[in-house]
Symmetry: C2
Subunit: 678 residues, 2 copies
């Protein structure tokens, strides 16, 4: 009980204030007041996690004048700590310093358990530290012949008493380590404890005495093409290394469905792909830890986000049911797994968390996007599209969230495009076509200049201009449409009909010449009628999926559009909308979320509450299956036009020119047919 005579304590930055009895330690005061002050050693003056910075003098804001003797002086424990390991000037150990008078105490970020970690992504993002794996220092009762209990049973008692952790388990191998550690350090040890979804606590690391071991986690975005991972300190939240490798499964099939086919047609094929991806994961992890001067044994946790096919292949499950209706998942729930059960050679007892899958085509990657973008927390109706070979589409707001996937095919990734290529130096990524002259200018990856700049040739001498990538083809087609070179049906006009010299006949259709370096032995890059058909197929599928969700939601328009995925970060919102990839929406409300799936993985790695959040959200999401929805086909056909056959896109038309020629004079391919799901 505190009285009005007791010292008044204010903690910053939280601003929490209370009176506590004189002589209370700062750590005790913080705990009783609900102030977030860390401690690993349980107040024994060993870990120094509870450091605070007292602010003496006048604090008119808090109505406090803090005298120099408001805290007790150094006791022997703190003195020893300062002598041996050194305290920063002005800092005190919260577990040793006692409150004797009114005082303002600042808790520096590194002393907070739930510190905010800033992630550098497309959008700067704060993640609150609340990891599933934490370190605890314990002092265990020595063995006693008169009350014979095991080392483990006495350790459990210590965990319960000193940290309020009950029901912990451990493997035999960890028990053997614990046995050794306790004997080595007079029954004192530091343990890493992982808490799973079901609340089960497991000892996954043991060190003799008080220790501050390297404790790292890996957030993995396991894509069909690329595997990307961040190596993150599980104590500080600091990212120590990031990197990616190609998914080696590409040799079994470029896209997901060809990998499923490979598994279906080849005995043991799924197993081959499983081994390949696990090996690649271990290689990537080894590279990242090497970069950070660590070893893979320092990795105690990994979080994976991935689509359902990658999910099944990583886990060693049969992916073939995902190749046809009803697209049966082996499991759709979030999972906690020992890393070794999926062949990952991390710390012996490292744990893996797999985000839940939303549906047979909508994976944990989409769940991660939902976690990162949190549509369920905003009022404006938000459409999130993660564009890849399959597009994952999420629509929702505080009232409801829906999701589907749509088979866009690989055109947006530059595949099936005559001059298409992956996004790499030399690839055209931005295109402008002058409305009057119909002449293009472009930028290539690796150079900031426009192609019309005098220095462009010099600066791109190494890479050359090699092809056109996904964002490039989108801009090219949209620019052609705005310049009147392509009509609403997607037909390219002739030079005569448009006055553009660059339109050249090619059989019964026309192509637009973007770049011709044939004289120097370089590439000839053009946009063909076939390219436009491929883009139309892809964008129709994307739009139709979004539209289906809007129907289901009962909305005719969306208020925000978020472009997710690495690719989404490079798409120009204006061009995407001119193409009719996304529904009409004020352009300033179309934003890119960068690699939202990767961000979601990172959030789940560092914050266990976020894991529960995404599990609950996925459970609540309404799943819409495009493959069996008759209206999808209808929407797909209507979306074939650029931007759209029936939707007015009046918002868009108000800000960009969309001339309306009609080149349907016998040229052009037939009506695009819907592609098979890929």
């Amino acid at each position: 009980m505190s009285s009005s005579q007791d010292p008044l304590v204010v903690f910053t930055p939280s601003g929490k204030r209370a009176r506590v009895p004189a002589g209370t330690s700062v750590l005790e005061a913080a705990r009783s007041m609900g102030v977030d002050l860390d401690s690993v050693c349980g107040g024994r003056g060993i870990c120094s996690k509870c450091q605070v910075q007292p602010a003496f003098g006048d604090h008119s804001k808090h109505g406090i004048t803090a005298s120099e003797d408001a805290l007790s002086g150094f006791n022997s424990v703190e003195e020893r700590y300062d002598r041996v390991r050194g305290l920063k000037t002005g800092r005190r150990l919260g577990c040793q310093a006692c409150i004797q008078g009114d005082i303002v105490l600042d808790v520096p970020p590194e002393s907070q358990v739930h510190k905010q970690v800033v992630r550098k992504a497309a959008t700067t993002r704060h993640i609150e530290m609340d990891p599933a794996t934490r370190l605890y220092y314990i002092e265990v009762e020595p063995a006693d012949m008169h009350a014979p209990t095991g080392d483990w049973e006495r350790t459990q008692a210590a965990l319960a008493e000193q940290w309020n952790i009950t029901g912990a388990t451990l493997t035999l191998a960890m028990l053997a380590k614990l046995q050794t550690a306790l004997i080595a350090a007079e029954y004192k040890a530091t343990v890493a404890i992982h808490t799973a979804r079901d609340g089960a606590a497991q000892v996954i690391g043991v060190w003799a005495g008080f220790a501050e071991p390297a404790l790292f986690g890996l957030a993995v975005d396991l894509g069909s093409t690329t595997i990307a991972a961040h190596l993150t300190n599980l104590v500080t939240g600091e990212v120590k290394a990031s990197g990616g490798v190609m998914n080696p499964q590409i040799r079994f099939g470029e896209d997901l469905m060809s990998r499923v086919s490979y598994a279906m047609m080849n005995e043991g094929g799924a197993g081959e792909m499983t081994r390949a991806v696990r090996e690649a994961m271990n290689t990537l992890a080894a590279e990242l830890v090497a970069e950070a001067d660590l070893t893979t044994a320092d990795i105690y946790e990994a979080v994976f986000v991935m689509n359902p096919v990658m999910h099944h292949l990583l886990l060693g499950l049969d992916p073939t049911p995902l190749g046809q209706a009803p697209f049966a998942l082996a499991t759709n729930s979030a999972m906690d797994l020992p890393a070794r059960t999926i062949g990952l050679t991390f710390a012996d007892e490292a744990q893996v968390y797999i985000l839940p899958l939303i549906a047979g085509h909508v994976g944990a990657d989409a769940a991660a996007v939902a976690l990162s973008e949190a549509p369920q927390k905003v009022d404006p109706l938000t459409l999130i599209v993660d564009v890849g070979t399959n597009a994952e589409i999420i629509l929702g707001n505080t009232s409801r969230v829906l999701a589907c996937s749509s088979p866009t095919g690989p055109a947006f990734e530059g595949a099936q495009i005559s001059s298409g290529q992956r996004a790499a130096p030399g690839a055209i990524e931005r295109v402008e076509i002058d409305a009057i002259t119909k002449e293009p200018r472009f930028k290539v990856i690796g150079c900031d200049l426009w192609s019309t700049d005098p220095d462009f040739a010099t600066q791109t001498a190494v890479s050359g201009v090699s092809g056109i990538c996904g964002s490039g083809i989108i801009e090219a087609v949209a620019e052609m449409r705005m310049a009147g070179l392509v009509d609403a049906n997607g037909l390219i006009g002739s030079a005569e009909a448009t006055g553009a010299e660059r339109l050249r006949a090619s059989g019964r259709t026309y192509s637009y010449l973007l770049h011709d370096a044939s004289a120097e032995g370089g590439a000839v890059i053009e946009v063909t009628q076939g390219d436009i058909r491929a883009i139309q197929l892809a964008k129709s599928a994307l739009y139709a999926g979004a539209r289906l969700l809007m129907d289901e939601f009962g909305a005719d328009e969306v208020e925000r559009v978020v472009l997710a995925g690495a690719f989404g970060a490079h798409i120009s919102p204006k061009h995407a909308m001119v193409l009719g990839m996304i529904p009409d929406c004020p352009l300033e409300h179309v934003t890119s979320a960068g690699n939202a799936a990767g961000t979601g993985a990172q959030i789940a790695l560092l914050n266990v509450t976020a894991r529960r959040e995404v599990e609950a959200l996925v459970h609540e999401i309404t799943k819409v299956e495009t493959a069996i929805e008759p209206k999808f086909q209808e929407h797909f056909v209507a979306a074939n036009a650029i931007p759209h056959a029936t939707a007015p896109f009046s918002g868009l038309r108000a800000v960009v020119p969309l001339p309306d020629p009609d080149f349907n004079a016998g040229g052009g391919g037939g009506r695009p047919r819907r592609r098979a799901r890929r």
Copy 2:
């Protein structure tokens, strides 16, 4: 609700009776009345586990006249079952046959879940079947695109709905099997579910459709010298094969402490012993399944009982702390473990249950003895001794149970005895000495005749008379004491002092010649003064341990003595008591329990309630540590005399002659010193 108009049903053998509405199936009636009637398929007419035998006609005992139409006729399901698989005459499927009138229904043993299984052991014993692993047939909802959930999530729903099993888990490997099985058999499957101590249910086997797979368990008594196991059907309780192998750790040290020393002195020595014992386990399992025409993949569970050193070595824990005070155990609790974590190559997900340890010297083998003998359930104060290199001693009754171990050393196993040998053909196992002539006769293992029988030589021609085993030396010394050839101090008299020609001088002491085949090139077998000293050391330790428990209990005598262990089965109670191995007690209350540890293992394998029982009992047992109890030394010294220096043994003296010569005439060794703990 049933009314007095409803048919009256009586089930036998339980005798349960109730009225049930007409049309109720027999299975439903049994369940509502709490009658033990099995069903694996959940009443679908597939498994036939619910068969009953209706008894028509007059049942005056039950007040029922059952007409032929008291049960409904065969329906299509039952007809089909009878046609395809055949029903025994008079039998009905309980899930199909409906009650239409008063009836008496017999539940045959094979239709009972909790059937009693009769074990053949030294004492015939009934074990109620209540295994941790059981089979369940389930019908799972097919995958549905509109409500996408995984195969596993729908399986969990089926388990909850059809069998009331919630929160089940499974490994990734098992999930892959489940996925395949469900697709193969239209979402019908049979699963084996194991329930662990904490109530956690785990799928450890999956079969497509309805299946009756071989489901076996292994009950293992892992001794320092011998590993013995029973291969048991987990559905029927039938033992299909039993056998044993030598513990290959013997090459690292004969007794436990020499193995601990080996681990202490040799880097990696503990690991070598762990590998050796695990290999031996796999070999033994392979032999037993081969004998039963099964494979090791049919073994889904194993139960182990063993002393603490064997426990640590099997589990890969460091045994060296068990070599010295405070004899710290790494863990003392019962454990559920995947069999693969201890290197056992059984079914992929086979589970192991390890009985709890009582203390640093009192192992799971002693716990198994306690489970088998259940001293806590009887009123008479019962002393249970399991004699081996270490003797485990348990004392108790309904009020309280105490336990200790005592370092008897290997003398009782024939080691340290001049003509000692293991119990094997040719070893003297029984001895009688004529009180008048002082002439002996004996029996050897492998022959039922006494050595004085004319045919003895012929019948033992192959084995010869090769030495003396543990029970033989006990009888020999006791007989010498009763014949007046050995005094209360354990000194052997001379031929002159006793009139026995067979007493021969050997230095300053005397030996008793039991057998001399030297003329035929055979063995000379005698009992030397050193042999008697060795037996005195061993029996003093045993008695002192028992006496210490009696002190602790506050009792001066015991009402029952149970001799456990293979050795215990061969000891003659009278001779043991003449030696003073055990306290005075009416001879008819001294019984042998055979291999009580092995029986305990078998009980724990087949009955999960027994596991909870032994865990609770071990928790309640008062552990007494002989190594640090000063009174132990005192008791040890007093117990050196034969039968005892101070305890009167008046009960014994009333039934056997105990002459009191004193041969202390300068001969004989010094006072025996207490042996180091072995």
